[in-house]
Structures are given as C-alpha cells and as structure tokens.
Subunit: 194 residues, 4 copies
C-alpha cells in the first residue's frame, strides 16, 4: 500500500486537533482589555500545545518522507499516535483553566509522555519494515533526542507536585530542543540527493 | 472518475468525526485528579469509538486500495456510510454521560449496526462495478467476519435491556475481531505483486 | 494553476460543514428513549442538510472532473459557493430547534437559493474559461434542473408564511431531483472515453 | 522535500479555521426574524473574516504554486502564519459580540497585522531558498501592496480608540485591495508558460 492516504488522514487529524484547541479560548463578555486578562493562562497553554503539535507534524512529515510503503502494523502504530495527540486539547484546556496547578500539569506530562512513546513505537515499526541501511534508520541513529525527551517527561510528571513551575520549565525545554526540525533526516536526505 | 477525491473527502470526514468526539470530554472545574473521576465513562466510550472509527478508516483504506475507478452509485454508497459514522460521536456522548445505561447502549448498537450495513452495501457496490475475479472480490470472499459482526450487533441491541454489560462485551469483542486489519486484502495484494 | 488544491480545500470545507452540523444534536440528559424525542426535528433537519451537502459535493466533484485548470476568478467563485454552504449548519440548527416554524423555514430556503446561485455562477465561470465545445458545456447543456431548482426555492421562501409544510415539501422534492448524481457529465464522459 | 504535505496541512488548517467561525453564530431561541437581529454584528464580522481567510488561502495557493521544494525553515515559517490565522476566529467572535467596540476592534487589527508579518516572513523565506530570478521573486517585486497593508494595520489599531469605525473602514479597504487575487503571479506565470 502507498503511504499517501495515511499522510492525508494524519494531516487531517493533526490539523483539526491544532485548530479545535482555539475553541477553548472562549470569547469574554467584557469589551475592554481587562476582560482578556483571565484568558492569559489559556492562551499560554494554547501556544505551548500549538508548538508541540507543530513539532509532531513536522517530524511526522520528515519521517514519512523517508519511507515508501505502509503496512497494517504501521497504520495501527500511526492511529495509536493520533489517539494520544487527540487528548492534548483536553489536557491543555484543563491546565489553562486551572492556572497551571499541580494535577493538570502532571496530566499534561502524562499525555506528552504517551505521545512520545507512541511516536517511538511508530518509528521502530517503520524502521523494522524497511532494511537497516535505509534513510530513516541512518537519520534516526541512536535517537538520543527521543530518549532524552521520554526521560525528561518522566521527571516532569512527579515534579509537578513539588512545584508546577518545574514541570512547566521542562515542557518548554523539550519543546525548544525539538523546535529545530529533525535536521538529521534533512541532512542525510540532501547527501543522498547530491 | 478517479477515486482520489472520494478518498480525500472520506479521510476528511472520518478525521473530523474521530476528533470532535474529544470535544465531549469537557474540561472539569476542579483542579485535582478527583475532578477527573466523573469523566472516566466518557473517556472509556471515547476509546471504544476511536477504535471503531480507526477500524472503519483502515478497512476503507484497504478496500479502496484494490479498486481503480468510482461511479455515481459508489459515491452515494460512500456518503451513506459517512452518514451513519457521523452519528457515532452523538451516541458515544450519550452512552458516556449516562454511565452505560440500557437505552444509550442499545442506540450505540443500532448506529454500529447501520454503519456495518452501509459498509456492506458499499463493498457490494464496489464488487458489482468491477469484475468478479478482481482483488477485492477474492479478498473479501464470503465475508464471514462482516456477517458475524452484523449478527452480533443484532444480538447486542436487545441484550442491553437485559443487562447493558452484555452489549458492552459484544461491542468490545467485535472491535477486537476487527482490530487485526483486513489481512485478506493485504495478503491477496502481496501475492499479486510477487 | 492546477485544480488540485482547490479540490482539496473544497473537500476540507465541505467535510467540516457536513460534520459540525452533528454538534447541534446535543447529548440529552435523560437516559431513556423518551429523552431523544425532542431531538427528532433536529435529526430530521440534519438528514435533509446532510443530503443537500452530499449533493453539492457530488456535483462539485463531477464538475471539476471535467476541467483541467483554474484561474483567480474560479477560485473566488468557488469561495463564494463555500461561503453560502457554510451557513447551512446555522439555518439547519435554527430550523430544527424551532420545529420547522415559518421564519426558520424561509431562511433555510434563502441560504439554499443563494448556494444554488453561487453554484450556477461557478459553473458559468468554469464554462467561460474553457471553450464551448468542452465536456462541461456539453454535459450541462441548458441546465434545466439548475434553473428549476432556483425557481422552486423562490417559491418555497414566501410559501413558508402560508404553511411551513409547503416549503418543507419543496426542499425534499428538490433534494430528490438531485439525489440522482449528474448523469449528464458521467454519460458524456463515458462516451468520450470510449 | 516536496511541498505536497505542507499544502495539504495548510489547506486543512485554513479550512477548519474558516468553518469553525460559523460555530460562533449561535442558534437563537426565538422563532421569528426579530430573533436574528442581535446576530447581525456577528454575521458581519464573520463575512469580513471569511473574506480575509479566503484572501490568505488564495495568496498562499498562488505563492506555493511558484515553488518546488520546501525546507525546515519554510515549514516553521508556515506554521507561524497558521498560528496567527488560528486566532482570527477568537478576535472575530469578540468583535462581533461587542458590536465593534474599541478594544475588540484594536485586537482584531493586531492579529491581522501579525498574520501579515508572518506572511511576509514566509514569502521572504521562500524567496531566499530559491534564486533571485525565480518566478516568485519577480512576481512579488517590491511588494508594495504587502507593505501598504502592514502600514494600514499599524494605523488602524490605535485609531480604534479614536473611533472604531475608522479601523473598520481600514480593514474593509485592505480586504478590497487584496480581493483581486495576486494577478502579479498569475501574469508572470502565464508569460512563462507562453
């Protein structure tokens, strides 16, 4: 099977997830800038989650760029990733409405952790279906950045109960770490095309 | 006519259906994990419906992979399927909010049954438009799994009024039965490509 | 410019319009079938609008199938059509919530009329950009069905104030008239390919 | 990397943004035309934002039509644009609900300004990645229309506090200025193809 529809379906789901989060920013009743003040934590959580979903889409794009064909197990590994990503709007809304309290901050980390696990499974499934010398395997390499993120989420979840700000800083740090798109694939790709 | 736009439109509709269900998981007002407790049945129904819609998308993907062209009757058979799938978020929400009571469980089964009927009609329409030796006809064969699902839904609907847990178990059983993507098409396809 | 992105964007918008209408069917608080009774007019309006949007998508699909290239004026004629279609969920909701009262029935007809006008403009723009012997021009011919629909909507709008049921019957009649997809294009197309 | 998925994802996000705005037009409880009266400012803001988003989509379409390949920095410049566009439904809703008061009018201008900045960055990134004689660079030229829009938004934002109607007129004027799709690219393109 070709990868075309899997890409189109994932694009659709991620586009909807990234956009319905904005529905959580409810129109205030007041008509001056004061009325916007209570929305600040909600907007901040929206920005963070927008960046996370943009990172996932970018990396998903890079990853599938390197492969040619999909199988039943790849379809399901991809659905599993989309499931966890689909919970991000809910955890974002809970975190924003409660001004970054401990429990919502921890739950946000749990969903990020599960999304990262699902992404790793999808990546492994893709590599396993192709031979070990292919572009993706070489580009991903030991995947230090991926495992570092998993470890950091595991630290961030319990840290929320010491102080939510610790988790918050970890989430921002991981986002920044990935904000640079996966140059590994881009570079390996360019080398191949030269 | 080519199948490209029918696939793109179906991908869009299923992507939206699978994602708007998450809007039913309303952000709670409390800020500790206790506040999440009443959401548990809603999350469980979401997981079940997510899996059902993922199964439909996967099978839809496999099925259209085998055909080349579409006609007016195929477009309408596909629209009919999308109509019944579009009612899944509503029945999921009603089931989750009422903690799996009898009537919502039965209605959930009715919509699953009608979706399965619509899928069967679409499959028959596709096979009828192509010759009987084509890939889809051979892969589907006697479609025992399809007819078994229809029969099980017919049992599940009235069973909800004996005890909702019977219907629940049947829905989970049917989902598990399909969770393995339609290997028949994948295998027949691989044989052809060798 | 190629038509690919215009088709993809229109598919996306129509897929979202057809799906968000289902959000208007609010999950009831009761847990027996009695609780569903007040939803009946809302579900009926949903079915009618689903069919109308499915007709528009099918005809849009057929129409763009016949052309190769798009221009700036085609992009805008298409946006104009999408604008009127995007108001269908609102008029559907108003009609359903008010049990098919006169004013909502009339407004529903106004939006259907404007959508049909926009579709006719789009069709004229497409034909004007291509030569008069092309497939679309031959398939559309004198477009009796299109002009009949426009006339029927014009009758249906004021009729709502005599009795809403007259408008309702006209809307159902027009839908049935179009439910048969545009065989003219399909047939002309098949002839060409032979 | 090819541009195909970036286009598909952007189409999806813009299609959703343009459509969820319609959810802000809440179904009124009354059943005569009087009940629609309070919705008038909401509908007017919807029309204006629909036109702005249609302009962005059209120009995005024209712009990407001229290029062949995308890079990591283009993906991020595009995400940045989508972020600002995603805030349009919120500012539209606030503006409509408050009958075009000063603060909502100013905020609407801020989001339009940031969207225009993001579009300019994206355009510069695209030109920088391609050589200076390419189609886009020639078509855009000195981009007077782009810089004029930025300047007009900068005037419109503080003007809202003198009288909101001044900002309103500027927003309508800029929209009209762009309503004519980017003929520069279309013309340069046609010349090339001849």
């Amino acid at each position: 099977m070709t990868k075309h529809r899997l890409e189109a379906f994932s694009d659709g789901v991620i586009a909807i997830i990234i956009t319905i989060m904005v529905l959580e920013i409810k129109v205030p009743h007041g008509q001056d800038f004061q009325a916007l003040k209570p929305l600040l934590p909600i907007v901040l959580s929206y920005v963070l989650s927008f960046i996370y979903l943009a990172i996932y889409w970018n990396n998903h794009h890079h990853m599938f760029h390197t492969i040619e064909r999909v199988s039943g197990s790849i379809l399901w590994a991809n659905m599993h990733l989309l499931f966890w990503l689909s919970l991000i709007p809910f955890t974002t809304g809970w975190m924003g409405e409660n001004h970054f309290e401990a429990a919502p901050m921890a739950l946000y980390g749990v969903v990020l952790f599960m999304s990262a696990v699902a992404y790793t499974i999808l990546q492994r499934t893709l590599i396993a279906k192709h031979d070990h010398h292919n572009l993706l395997a070489r580009a991903v390499g030991k995947d230090l950045k991926g495992y570092a993120s998993l470890a950091l989420y595991l630290v961030a979840v319990p840290s929320a109960f010491i102080h939510p700000i610790i988790s918050g800083c970890i989430y921002i740090f991981v986002a920044l770490m990935w904000l640079i798109p996966d140059k590994r694939i881009e570079r390996t790709l360019e080398k191949d095309e030269v």
